[in-house]
Symmetry: C2
């Protein structure tokens, strides 16, 4: 195993130094950010001390040994409660670690705390987490605390999830790297996330950190049962120039403002100048046809998710309706007979669009678009527009939000969407894009 490109050793600071820096930021700023639901301060200090000793002895357990990690509050931890962003479950201890947490602890990572999620990782904010770049703005969601904690310097990595836009949108709004793997790529066992197109997502300060974290999980705990999980080297694959990128303009692109459009176009121009061929729906017929097919991504995803969310919503509604948002209560209405036919049609349509995407990716190294329609909107009651994120979610394809753009002086993510189960290739390509745009 080579560890020379691993995130931890690239800094002079020991894991214990880094944890103390995170704790100092938390003590200074958590009152404003409100990212945490629980902090395991003593346990984290002990883990960071042990990790520091391993590095000092030249015997780290993995490239992420000592990485300071927080987890979305749908991910179970044996030492902290898992509240799911719902008053029904606030404070509940499940007494076990999720597969990903188990794997990260085995790899030496420091599990510092649990961070906020919207109600059941859907659309309604339960906590009032703020964006580290502007406390009047949302950090995005549903992985609100994950994006905010990494952006605020409270942690180096955060686990989240994405079934529509819950990882890449907050990553874009908060100005950090966001990674949604291929569907099934990271083991979700022990998380309250059972949706068929949902994935565990990773937030990190660097591309290398996101990749090493994903591999620390998948090499130990694999993917979802029945899936091999993300494969590749344990540290960031070497940068690789793409030959052809396809510009994806998802349904909802009309909401993208002029500054964001200009930032995106400037990025495309720079990548073109660096030697990459950029094709658009205007210049490629297959890309144009795919753009039309994927335009249904949001309503199709919502129908699938609502059906799959009938449980547990319908069960909870029988005893806890007054503690549920209208959005979640509405899912209970789907728990009725005669919905199998429409669900069968919906998942067949999703499979057909995935097959079209697979064929398209014979012609392109990746698709490129924005990770959000613009910077984080003002207000904490809405986590923002998911239009740019839902295509990759529906496709089950790997996607990255890279914190390379700005609009209105705020972060805006550049999104790359790869080929399903070829996540390492997407990271290699992203490394080249980062260098091309940052110089």
């Amino acid at each position: 195993m080579t560890t020379d490109t691993a995130p931890a050793p690239t800094t002079e600071a020991t894991p214990l130094d880094r944890l103390k820096a995170c704790l100092a930021r938390i003590d200074a700023d958590e009152g404003r950010i409100r990212a945490f639901t629980a902090i395991a301060r003593e346990e984290a200090l002990r883990a960071a001390e042990a990790s520091s000793a391993r590095w000092a002895a030249g015997a780290p357990l993995s490239p992420v040994d000592g990485m300071i990690v927080v987890a979305k509050d749908i991910v179970e931890t044996h030492d902290m409660p898992t509240g799911e962003g719902s008053p029904i479950w606030t404070g509940r201890h499940t007494g076990r670690d999720a597969a990903a947490i188990m794997a990260l602890r085995a790899a030496g990572a420091v599990i510092l705390g649990k961070v906020t999620t919207t109600e059941f990782a859907a659309t309604e904010p339960f906590h009032e987490t703020t964006n580290p770049h502007d406390p009047a703005r949302t950090p995005g969601g549903s992985s609100s605390g994950s994006g905010a904690a990494v952006a605020a310097g409270f942690a180096e990595v955060a686990l989240g999830s994405q079934v529509v836009g819950s990882t890449l949108r907050p990553a874009s709004y908060c100005g950090v790297v966001g990674y949604k793997p291929s569907v099934g790529g990271l083991n979700r066992c022990g998380t309250f996330d059972h949706f068929s197109q949902s994935c565990m997502g990773v937030f990190a300060t660097t591309l290398a950190g996101a990749w090493a974290t994903a591999r620390a999980i998948s090499s130990r705990a694999g993917g979802d049962p029945g899936h091999v999980g993300v494969t590749g080297p344990d540290t960031l694959p070497p940068a690789q120039a793409p030959a052809r990128l396809g510009v994806l303009l998802p349904e909802g692109w009309d909401k993208v403002g002029p500054e964001a459009r200009a930032a995106f176009q400037a990025a495309l121009d720079a990548l073109s100048a660096a030697g990459c061929t950029i094709l658009t729906p205007d210049t490629d017929a297959a890309l144009a046809a795919f753009t039309t097919s994927i335009a249904v991504a949001l309503p199709l995803s919502k129908r699938i998710n609502t059906r799959e969310g009938a449980w547990p919503a319908a069960d909870y509604a029988t005893r806890h309706a007054d503690q549920m948002s209208e959005t979640i209560r509405d899912r209970a209405l789907w728990a009725v007979p005669a919905r199998q036919d429409s669900y069968a049609e919906d998942i067949a349509q999703r499979a057909a669009i995935r097959a079209e995407h697979e064929r398209l990716m014979g012609d392109f190294d990746a698709l490129i678009t924005l990770a959000a329609t613009g910077p984080a909107p003002v207000g904490l009651s809405w986590t923002g527009d998911p239009s740019m994120n839902v295509p990759a979610s529906l496709l089950g394809a790997p996607a990255l939000s890279l914190p390379l753009l700005q609009a209105e002086g705020l972060p805006l993510g550049l999104q790359l969407i790869g080929t399903r189960d070829a996540d390492a290739g997407l990271f290699a390509l992203a490394g080249w894009v980062e260098t091309a745009l940052r110089g």
Copy 2:
């Protein structure tokens, strides 16, 4: 909806009468059988009263309105604890109903209690449940209480699960109908069962009861996320004669004793006399080739399950090793790097065998074999040999154990294995087989 073939209305007794009969049997025999981990007596009486009123008014909610149901203790119930057959979790309340329980309650079923499972639905008995036909013998497992409760008249239907042989083997040993659906066929959300080839199973006194229960679940809660779930009529499909049945002689057939072989051969002769063509590996080359391919089912399934069972075993082992059997602790050893390659090979081999089975089923209406190597063995520390059950589990194909045979004066199940996602066809065929053999 036609209800004239539904189980409930075929008896004169009301649901309340039927529940009281079950409770009387429990009061008389549970001390010997030890099938239950919890009984919700008052809740069940209330539900049965309400159901009786609906039938009296001519307005049942479904064909299973009033069905007396118990559930394996890996299936969550909001009103009873879910112990998973482990001292670690005994008495734990999760506060919610599994998707299948939610669906059955919505269909009017009476959820009477929770019944025993081996430790984490694997191989080690935790409770000392006995076989209703002979208290010195195992009821089979891992769904030990499910098979025993239905055989003892404690309930009309029981939910179980099967990843290797945990539904069909206890059904065979206990002399009741056992049904393992196509993989993904019944929604497992809210059960402690995350294995990729595992299914929720159904035990019932009748074929009609097993089918109506499965459809009450799948029509409301669907299948596992991403799967449509079992489809077909809400009540038992009309019997349909098969043209061709293929005799499957799984690896381990050499353990089948002379009485069991004779009973099986007599059944084949009777089906042949009734007009069905019976082919064997000696008379059909494709069947012979498939028999060779499927011979690896048990070691291949064990490798897949051990890998997928690394979580939560490895997590529990860090804090509860002294409360875990050696079998489960061994799974923790798999939570190490470099296992992804072998898992990838294993699930690819499984997929190849499934594809061969699908091609084979172009030639056969179903495969036929025994549901166990013989009657229930003596002793409570071993739940019996799964050799006859693991082929259908590996295939993800629907399978039924029909209580039509005997050996040593004890029950022995005749097993039918159908085509994946064609469960209704298997039940139609099974209806014909029942009539042909019972006369």
